[in-house]
């Protein structure tokens, strides 16, 4: 019947095929009923970028690092008179912070480089528009996404502690305390085998 040498009992493949489809029928389907049921998105989903305006210092790092130049920032300087100080301090005031989501490729570099945590990922994704120009979100709109930003996921208990935490712990313990790398290894109580 066939050129292939090894064959099991005739008709076994046919029965197997039937069994697969029947088994699939009894399982729950994987269909996401999206508009009716909201999808369960994983943490750190890249939906839209939210802006926490107070944190922004107009350092322009994000705009410069953006690979497709979709962040537009305008600002002016303001003098803040500090009583007792010799000179008035200068402060940057943010006038405009736009992200053009028709250009954005969701790489997240702006969020990574922001030294003051002014930019955050929000999992919201329903912001399609009929006009491509409306995809340019100004700072109010970007700020409006802020409440949708989920709290950061808890630290992995087995993971290395953040640099800040480790430094603080070392300072508290005084000089000669173990370094961050050593604390990390010491944390899981059971030592790794072979070390």
């Amino acid at each position: 019947m066939s050129e292939h040498g090894e064959r099991s009992a005739p008709g076994k493949g046919l029965v197997n095929g039937l069994a697969v489809t029947l088994k699939t029928m009894t399982r729950r389907s994987t269909t996401q009923q999206y508009p009716d049921v909201q999808p369960e998105l994983p943490p750190r989903s890249r939906g839209v970028i939210a802006l926490l305006e107070e944190n922004c210092t107009v350092c322009m790092l994000c705009a410069r690092e953006c690979p497709d130049w979709c962040i537009y920032i305008d600002s002016h300087k303001e003098e803040v008179v500090v009583p007792g100080a010799a000179r008035a301090r200068q402060r940057n005031v943010l006038d405009r912070f736009d992200i053009d989501f028709s250009l954005c490729m969701y790489c997240g570099i702006c969020i990574e480089v922001c030294p003051f945590d002014a930019l955050h990922w929000s999992p919201e994704f329903e912001y399609s528009e009929l006009d491509v120009l409306d995809l340019l979100h100004d700072k109010d709109r970007l700020g409006a996404w802020m409440p949708t930003v989920p709290p950061p996921p808890a630290h992995d208990v087995l993971g290395e502690p953040s640099k800040e935490e480790a430094t603080a712990a070392r300072k508290a313990a005084g000089p000669g305390a173990p370094t961050a790398a050593r604390t990390a290894r010491a944390r899981p109580e059971t030592p790794e085998p072979g070390k």
Partner: protein, 319 residues
């Protein structure tokens, strides 16, 4: 009951069955196929699990433009869907639902009538294929004609076996004579009948005449709107007819507990069970190649059917 009223009731019943049962099977196919593929299938039409999907489809087909290709043979082209649908409507007349004459038209040669009328369907395939003036249609039609002609032989031989066992050609008579051990005795014939029946209604895995991946849509390529819907309806009535014939000939029709009162229910249940298997096969198996199709028919089904005839005759003589 006056004669005309009796006639009216029967005709209305058959037309209702003709219109409702295919919809049920069609809907079942939507849902069963979807769940077998890990999907949900239609969910919106009619609010509850898409029960009205086929009604919506029907409305859509009615609204579509009825296109006849410029180079087509207009009259033949337009007649073909009706010719495709008509035989199945006629066949439903002869299928017994329950004991005590619960059949639209009891016929002494019911089996023969059914097989003869089913054979007309191939004319519709050739008509639509040729009249479309489309080479894919023609290829599909020729494949279809070769398939239908070939598979009619095992179909008739398998049916002949059961007719021989029952000693009658009347469909109610065959069910009357049926007894459970026939399930074993007539098993090869049942299998042959079912498989060649599948091929007769051109269902996957025997859908080479349609073969959408190679022939666009075979002989149905040029059809739109209501005429296309007729072809689809013919396919689903075809499922009902083949399931009903398999039920009546091989699965004992109305036989079951409390057959006197619930016979019709048993018949319907068995018909739907066989229809489910037809859908199941469609989901599970890929399409056969054209040469595999003919090989299966002539080298497997026909010899098995002939052997079954010998077996039936031997048992019949021995009893």
């Amino acid at each position: 009951m006056p004669l005309w009223l009796d006639l009216l009731v029967r005709v209305v019943a058959v037309v209702a069955a003709f219109l409702v049962l295919p919809l049920l099977v069609g809907q079942a196919e939507h849902k069963v196929m979807a769940h077998m593929q890990g999907r949900l299938g239609p969910m919106y039409a009619g609010a509850f699990h898409g029960w009205a999907q086929l009604v919506a489809d029907g409305v859509k087909f009615v609204q579509k433009e009825d296109i006849t290709p410029r180079d087509a043979d207009r009259r033949v082209f337009q007649l073909a869907p009706v010719v495709a649908l008509f035989p199945y409507l006629i066949v439903l007349l002869a299928i017994p639902l329950g004991p005590g004459g619960l059949v639209a038209q009891p016929l002494d040669v019911g089996l023969f009538f059914v097989l003869a009328v089913l054979g007309i369907g191939v004319v519709a395939v050739l008509m639509s294929a040729w009249a479309s003036a489309n080479k894919y249609s023609l290829l599909g039609g020729l494949r279809g004609a070769a398939q239908l002609l070939g598979y009619e032989l095992p179909l008739v031989l398998a049916a002949a076996s059961v007719a021989m066992a029952a000693g009658t050609l009347s469909l109610p008579g065959i069910v009357e004579a049926w007894s459970p051990w026939w399930l074993l005795w007539q098993a090869p014939a049942a299998l042959v009948f079912f498989v060649s029946g599948l091929a007769e209604i051109r269902r996957p895995p025997f859908d080479m005449p349609i073969a959408d991946s190679e022939l666009v849509f075979g002989y149905m390529t040029e059809y739109t709107g209501l005429r296309f819907a007729f072809f689809l309806l013919a396919e689903y009535v075809g499922i009902i007819v083949i399931a009903a014939l398999t039920t009546v000939l091989f699965l004992g029709g109305w036989h079951g507990p409390a057959a006197e009162h619930l016979g019709w229910l048993w018949t319907l249940l068995k018909v739907f069970a066989v229809s489910f298997v037809i859908i199941w096969l469609r989901v599970s198996y890929p399409r056969l190649r054209e040469d595999q199709l003919q090989r299966l028919c002539w080298l497997v089904l026909v010899p098995v059917a002939l052997a079954q005839l010998v077996l039936t005759a031997a048992v019949k003589v021995a009893l």
